[in-house]
Amino acid sequence: MNYLIISILLGIIILIMAGIAIYHKESLVAIIATGVVGLFASVLYLLLAAPDVAMTEAAIGSGLSTIIFFYVLNKIRSDKTKDGSLKTKDGRQKTEV
C-alpha cells in the first residue's frame, strides 16, 4: 500500500518533468528536466524490484547523458556568439536555440 502511494507520487513528478522537458523555453532547463526524469525513473525501478536496472539508469540516464547534452549545448552556443554573425549558406536568419 505504501509502495502504491510512493509510485503514484513518482509518476506525477515524472510526468510534470516530461512536460517541462518538452515545453520550457530554455534548453538548459529542458535538459535538466530530462535528467530528473531519469533519476526518478531509477527510483521507480527500485520499487519494481530491479536494482541492477536502477543502478544503470541512475549512472547513465541522469549523469552521463546530461553531461553530453551540456557539452553539445555549450558548443552550439559558443559557435553562435563568437562573432555574432555566423554565416549560413542560404542566408536565413538564425533561430533561437
Binding site: T56, A59, L64, Y71, K75, K82
Partner: protein, 229 residues
C-alpha cells in the same frame, strides 16, 4: 492543422497502448523461460547468485556481444565525426578546493567501479554499471584538469584488448567446454563466494573495462570539440 493531424495520430497510438494495458492482468508467477532459469539445478550449474548476471553473461551472452559491438560502432562513428585538433582555450583556473577533492575522489570512484563489476555475480551490479561509474570518474577528471590532454589512445587500446579477450574466452568455451560462452572452463569454486561461477566474473570484468573505456572515449571526443567562449 498539422498539429491536429499529429494529435489524432498520438491518440490512435494511445488507444493501441490502452489495449495492451487492458490485456495486462498482473503476473502471479514467473513465465516458463524464467522458471527454467530459476530452477535449482540450473542455478547450481551456472552458480551466479545474481540471476540477471547469469542471463546477461551466459544464457544471452551473444546478445551482450552484439550490444558491445553496437557500442563500439557508435564510439567509432562519433570519433570519426568529431575528430579535430583541440583548439587553444582560455580557461578560468579551478579552485584549490575542487582540485584537491578531485585528486582524492577520482581513485576512490574508479575503485568503486572496479568493485561493482568484480562483484557482479553476487550483488547488484556488473559490467555495465561499473563501466558507467568509471566513465563518471573520467568526467570528473576532465572537469577538474581541463588543460591536460585527453589520452584517447590509452582508452582505445584498453577497449580493443578487453573486447578481444572477451571473444577469446567465449570461443574457448566452444573449444574445451560444451559450447560458446560456456562458463565451466575454469574451476567453479563454491556458491556465494567471490571466486565462483567459473568464467562469469572474468568476462563481466572485461565487459566493464570495455564499456568504461568506450564511454570515456565518447566523452573525450565531445570534450575535444569545445571551443573558446
Amino acid at each position: 492543422m498539422r498539429n491536429s493531424f499529429i494529435l489524432i495520430l498520438i491518440v490512435a497510438f494511445g488507444i493501441m497502448l490502452y489495449g495492451l494495458f487492458d490485456a495486462f492482468s498482473g503476473n502471479e508467477q514467473l513465465s516458463e523461460l524464467a522458471k527454467y532459469y530459476a530452477q535449482k539445478e540450473n542455478i547450481e550449474k551456472v552458480q551466479a547468485a545474481n540471476l540477471v548476471t547469469a542471463v546477461v553473461v551466459t544464457y544471452r551472452g551473444l546478445d551482450t556481444l552484439g550490444e558491445v559491438t553496437i557500442l563500439f560502432l557508435t564510439a567509432a562513428i562519433i570519433g570519426f565525426f568529431l575528430h579535430n585538433k583541440e583548439e587553444k582555450r582560455f580557461l578560468r583556473e579551478n579552485s584549490e578546493i575542487f582540485i584537491t577533492a578531485a585528486k582524492l575522489l577520482i581513485p576512490i570512484i574508479i575503485l568503486l567501479g572496479v568493485y561493482i563489476f568484480i562483484n557482479g555475480h553476487l550483488t547488484p551490479g556488473g559490467g555495465f554499471q561499473g563501466g558507467a561509474v568509471i566513465a563518471s570518474a573520467v568526467i570528473l577528471m576532465i572537469l577538474a584538469f581541463p588543460e591536460r590532454e585527453f589520452n584517447s589512445k590509452f582508452f582505445t587500446y584498453l577497449e580493443s584488448a578487453s573486447g578481444t579477450i572477451f571473444v577469446l574466452l567465449a570461443a574457448l568455451g566452444a573449444i574445451i567446454g560444451s559450447g560458446f560462452l560456456d562458463n565451466a572452463i575454469v574451476p567453479m569454486g563454491t556458491f556465494g563466494k567471490l571466486v565462483s561461477a567459473g568464467v562469469i566474473p572474468i568476462i563481466y570484468s572485461f565487459v566493464g573495462l570495455k564499456v568504461g573505456s568506450e564511454l570515456s572515449n565518447i566523452l573525450g571526443n565531445f570534450k575535444a570539440v569545445q571551443s573558446d567562449n
